[in-house]
């Protein structure tokens, strides 16, 4: 088992798991039926991607591990998702702004992960990129609709983008884990991803008649296991049942 590869796999798996969990909270609460269904579908895609990645993490950890054990029996400091994904959903505009900022990143990230020298990560990327492309298209269209919509939708989604901006920097930070795996051709170099992301986000925001915020101080820590209190509540809800009844089955 390679410590860096496991950590990296968990970062990707936790991103998918936590965002999938957050989006599932919208189920039954969407503004209209079609969009409720859309978010539930996207949540399901993320959950499916999380499973492929956590199965891989479990395999790396050893024979006694399963994807469920990895998801339900890790504590908060052992979760490595991006902080932006654990933030509460807020209103429709907040959720869509987060989707747009993250989906765009995810699209460029997974496009590059297709070239990974790790066979399993590459296979996950081949599968996931088709879904992620759909997500990115959908959330960008919503940002344009809200930004270039009514005066109220314009103001509110601008505020959503502004408020979320300080959580976007973490997507592009790299530490020694990234460095080591980039050298091995396994991980994605985030420097070019950052450029592509800024360009695409600027392009869509421009069409949406929204202002792109200036980069300022950025939040970070999620990738290293330092989280906001919000993740604690997510894990409490998600892990409660399997921890109370570890033998429970469907």
């Amino acid at each position: 088992m390679q410590k860096e590869l496991l950590h990296y796999t968990l970062r990707l798996g936790d991103n998918a798991l936590i965002l999938g969990h957050r989006l599932a909270e919208w189920c039954g609460h969407g503004p209209v039926l079609e969009q409720d269904i859309a978010l539930s579908n996207i949540a399901l895609d993320h959950l499916g991607q999380a499973r492929m990645l956590l199965q891989y993490a479990a395999r790396q950890k050893g024979e006694s591990y399963t994807e469920d054990k990895v998801a339900f029996f890790r504590d908060i400091t052992e979760y490595y998702n991006l902080l932006i994904l654990e933030l509460p959903n807020g209103d429709w505009g907040d959720t869509l702004a987060r989707q747009f900022l993250f989906d765009t990143y995810n699209y460029f990230f997974y496009t590059e992960l297709l070239n990974s020298k790790d066979d399993h990560l590459k296979a996950v990327a081949q599968k996931a990129i088709k879904e992620i492309t759909y997500h990115a298209q959908w959330s960008a269209e919503w940002i344009i609709r809200l930004g270039d919509g009514t005066e109220e939708s314009h103001q509110r989604v601008q505020k959503s983008i502004d408020d979320l901006w300080m959580w976007t920097g973490e997507m592009f930070t790299m530490d020694e884990i990234d460095q080591k795996l980039i050298e091995e051709g396994v991980a994605v170099d985030l420097a070019p991803i950052k450029e592509q992301w800024h360009q695409k986000v600027a392009e869509i925001l421009d069409v949406a008649t929204l202002k792109k915020p200036q980069d300022d101080w950025m939040q970070s820590g999620g990738k290293q296991g330092e989280h906001s209190e919000y993740l604690g509540y997510i894990l409490a809800e998600m892990q409660h049942l399997p921890r109370m009844h570890p033998e429970a089955e469907w």
Binding site: E34, Q35, G48, Q126, Q137, W138
Partner: protein, 162 residues
């Protein structure tokens, strides 16, 4: 002469998709390989979508069918690569979809609309009109999008081309 492998494929032709019962798992292109090289038969399947909730049931149904035919030690393996594409759906499967009221995937996945591209023109499975509009990119299951026909006014599912 029919080989054992052919026979297994033929049996698999009778296993239907739990969500779209007019399609078999072979029509869907979900079964990738029947491998008889080892000491027990291995059927390799690939998920349509990462989170497709039907995959577990498909696995159980394949095992159940083959058990019924006397094969009690079949292993079903899930493979991710190469990823499933609607190109693997058989022509017979596409025709059955249309008869069932779901518009089959149009064209090849190779010319799929690029990021932030335009939605595809899809033919209405009810009246055959090309005058249709997309209502939502997401439908009742991960593999479908929701469309509406402006000719006959009926809504319909479109099996997304991926």
């Amino acid at each position: 002469m029919k080989t054992k492998e052919d026979q297994i494929w033929q049996w698999l032709e009778e296993v239907t998709d739990p969500e779209i019962p007019v399609l078999t798992v072979v029509d869907m292109g979900v079964v990738r390989e029947v491998d008889l090289a080892g000491d027990h038969p291995v059927v390799k399947i690939t998920p349509t979508y990462s989170g497709c909730p039907a995959m577990n049931e498909i696995e159980q149904n394949i095992k159940g069918k083959l058990l019924q035919e006397g094969l009690d030690n079949v292993e079903v393996q899930t493979v991710l690569s190469p990823p499933w594409t609607t190109d693997w759906m058989t022509d017979k499967g596409k025709e059955r979809l249309r008869e069932y009221g779901i518009a089959p995937p149009e064209g090849s996945s190779a010319d799929k609309s690029v990021l932030f591209g335009k939605p595809k023109q899809v033919q209405c499975p009810h009246c055959g009109s090309q005058e249709t509009t997309m209502v939502s990119q997401f439908g009742s299951t991960p593999c479908k999008a929701l469309y509406k026909c402006t000719n006959c006014q009926e809504p319909f599912d479109y099996f997304k081309c991926i």
